[in-house]
């Protein structure tokens, strides 16, 4: 059972990781916690479903189309709700994000009803399971894990090895200084929100297909856990978000399977608190330099 649960944990962790990447990127650049990110994940999932169900796209098309649509939405959210108050206290932005979150949840309820929607029979992906030595693994589980690792590597490459990546890091340090380098910081910020939102959409669709469900409030618990995962790994760090997601998924799954399912989420948060007490900047986070 242990290995099976481990696989289960890694799969959940993979979806946390994908969402956490968005949190981490936005935080890294604007130092704000985008509380609406979990709901962007939900909308992304719905948009994917919409593409396949209503527009009849095959999943290979629906994935990029929905991801782009979600990216546009993310960019729009930043424009409307965050940009006007970027210079204000970061708590103001956080509350604005909370407003966006409430708005998106209720918008989804108005658009798609309050109920749960299935992906099966719509996505065209059938779940196939493979059994190795009593451990069962499905094609989608493999997809979630592989995709999240690939996307992380890609993102890490973008941020650390490309010009736009350096510009992102410069913007994250000081928008004013970055502007004086000739960086179009608004565009960099939009780009960041776009990427983060697209990732959330992909996560939303993978989760939707794998667990075969999406509903308007699904972003709440995924968002919360992914946020915690991003912090656990060291917010602002891309490999950190990844690692945080997996650790979180594995810990909650093992805790639930060997101790108590009722306390499942408590294990996730307990590991977060314990790790932070010993590593205040998260597992891979860098301590901020504070030269006096």
């Amino acid at each position: 059972m242990f290995f099976q649960q481990l696989i289960n944990g890694i799969t959940v962790g993979g979806s946390y990781a994908l969402i956490a990447l968005g949190y981490t990127m936005v935080y890294g650049i604007l130092k704000i916690v985008n509380f609406a990110h979990g709901d962007v994940f939900m909308i992304g999932s719905f948009l994917g479903l919409f593409c396949m169900q209503v527009l009849g796209m095959p999943y290979m098309v629906a994935f990029p189309v929905a991801a782009i649509a979600t990216a546009v939405m993310g960019i729009l959210i930043e424009r409307v709700a965050y940009r006007p108050i970027r210079v204000a206290d970061s708590l103001a932005v956080m509350i604005s994000a909370l407003g966006v979150s409430i708005f998106l949840e209720n918008l989804a309820m108005v658009l798609w009803g309050t109920g749960t929607h299935a992906f099966s029979g719509i996505s065209g992906i059938t779940i196939t399971t493979y059994e190795f030595n009593k451990v069962i693994l499905s094609n989608i589980q493999i997809g979630v894990i592989v995709l999240s690792i690939l996307l992380m590597i890609g993102l890490y490459f973008i941020v650390n090895k490309t010009k736009i990546g350096v510009a992102m890091r410069a913007t994250s340090h000081s928008i004013k200084s970055a502007k004086l380098m000739g960086i179009n910081t608004d565009r960099i910020i939009s780009f960041t929100f776009g990427i983060g939102s697209a990732l959330a959409c992909i996560a939303g669709m993978l989760v939707g297909i794998y667990y075969d469900a999406v509903y308007p409030l699904i972003g709440y618990s995924y968002g919360l856990k992914a946020f915690a995962a991003a912090v656990l790994g060291g917010i602002g760090s891309i490999p950190g978000a990844m690692l945080g997601g997996f650790v979180m998924g594995i810990v909650e799954t093992l805790g639930a399977s060997y101790i108590s399912t009722g306390y499942r989420d408590a294990f996730a948060f307990a590991i977060l608190i314990i790790v932070l007490i010993f590593r205040p900047a998260g597992i891979l986070g860098k301590k901020e330099i504070d030269k006096v």
Binding site: T116, A118, Y211, I218, T261
Partner: protein, 349 residues
């Protein structure tokens, strides 16, 4: 005074239980429409005052205060979640206005006060009836319980455990999940490693559908799933597809019931909303019928309504015939249902 009769409706329209609140609202509206189309009660039309309690007890208290103070409101349909009913009941009872819950099945509601009624039986009734079926008639020996970690799910799980104890069967797994969970891999892996031969779900249709579907990924495709009326909803079948065929449940409402009142409800409901009613829509309908009957007989005085309601015997509704005991709890016998070819059907086995 006014030429209409006001009935309050306090249900969750946003939040995790919104889907059920919506169903109840439809049921209540249908009952109201039917009576209004016949000219209302003594020439007075019924007017609904609908309030959202979000499924949150604090909010329920606010809503209860709002409805209770409105002297024009004769009676209230509500609340849905037991926790909300328990938070709101003291307020209604203090003011002295009847509320009929269409969904709160927790044991504690029995003692909530003289003005508290419900058209759903307590979990104990359905829980033991379900276990009798599972153990005595179907012969299951090892029971796994999967329940939502709410007042409802935990309460039902307790009732089921107790019934299992009385019947000398084993509970081999008892696993909780948070409402809205989509990942049941952990729970199902645990069950796959127990030697359970049936899963009793203490939760609602959405999660039940997911459990039914996901269980196939863990080598549990043959596993029987059983539940109570909370899973009776078209959504279960829509979401669960083929995976929910064979799911067995107890309940009071069935679309295919031969009962004319039920059939009338089903056909009118389909006509009005273009989809099939869930069990909660039916309860909402019945709660309204109970109130309408009381107003018809006793007028709009709040106390008089209560006094009449306490005496109601065998009032025919969509969920069977309603009679109340001294606690305001409804007395009725559950049906046995099974899903066959994507349809809820009545069964004897």
């Amino acid at each position: 005074k006014s030429d209409s009769i006001k009935i309050g409706v306090a249900i969750p329209l946003t939040g995790a239980s919104a889907q059920d609140g919506e169903a109840i609202k439809n049921g209540v509206k249908l009952a109201t429409k039917l009576i209004n189309d016949q000219g209302g009660i003594n020439g007075k039309k019924i007017e609904l005052v609908v309030e959202d309690d979000k499924g949150d007890p604090s909010e329920a208290a606010t809503v209860a205060n709002k409805l209770a103070q409105d002297k024009d409101i004769s009676a209230i349909v509500g609340h849905f979640n037991s926790s909300c009913t328990l938070a709101a009941a003291p307020i209604y009872n203090q003011v002295g206005v009847v509320h009929v819950s269409p969904g709160s099945s927790a044991a504690a509601v029995s003692k909530a006060g003289d003005y508290t009624f419900r058209v759903i039986t307590t979990d104990a009734v359905q829980g033991s009836s379900l276990m009798n079926w599972a153990v005595k008639d179907l012969g299951y020996k090892n029971i796994a319980i999967v329940y939502e970690n709410t007042d409802y799910g935990a309460g039902l799980a307790e009732v089921v455990s107790k019934a299992a104890g009385d019947l000398n069967t084993n509970i081999v797994a008892k696993e909780a999940y948070e409402v809205g969970s989509t990942d049941f891999s952990t729970v199902l892996t645990k069950i796959a490693n127990s030697n359970a031969d049936v899963i009793i779900v203490g939760g609602l249709y959405n999660e039940t559908a997911l459990i039914a579907k996901q269980k196939n990924n863990y080598g549990l495709s043959k596993m029987q799933i059983m539940g109570v009326d909370a899973i009776y909803s078209d959504a279960l079948i829509k979401l669960g597809g083929a995976a929910v065929n064979g799911v067995k449940l107890t309940g009071y409402f069935s679309e295919v019931s031969k009962d004319p009142v039920t059939q009338n409800f089903v056909s009118k409901y389909k006509e009005a909303y273009n989809n099939t009613p869930s069990t909660y829509a039916a309860y909402g309908y019945d709660a309204t019928l109970v109130i309408i009957d009381s107003i018809k007989k006793a007028g709009i005085d709040r106390k008089a309504i209560r006094d009449h309601m306490a005496t109601i015997k065998d009032l025919k509704g969509a969920t069977g015939s309603n009679s109340f005991d001294e606690n305001g709890d409804v007395i009725k016998q559950p049906l046995r249902l099974v899903i066959q070819d994507g349809k809820f059907t009545i069964t004897e086995k």
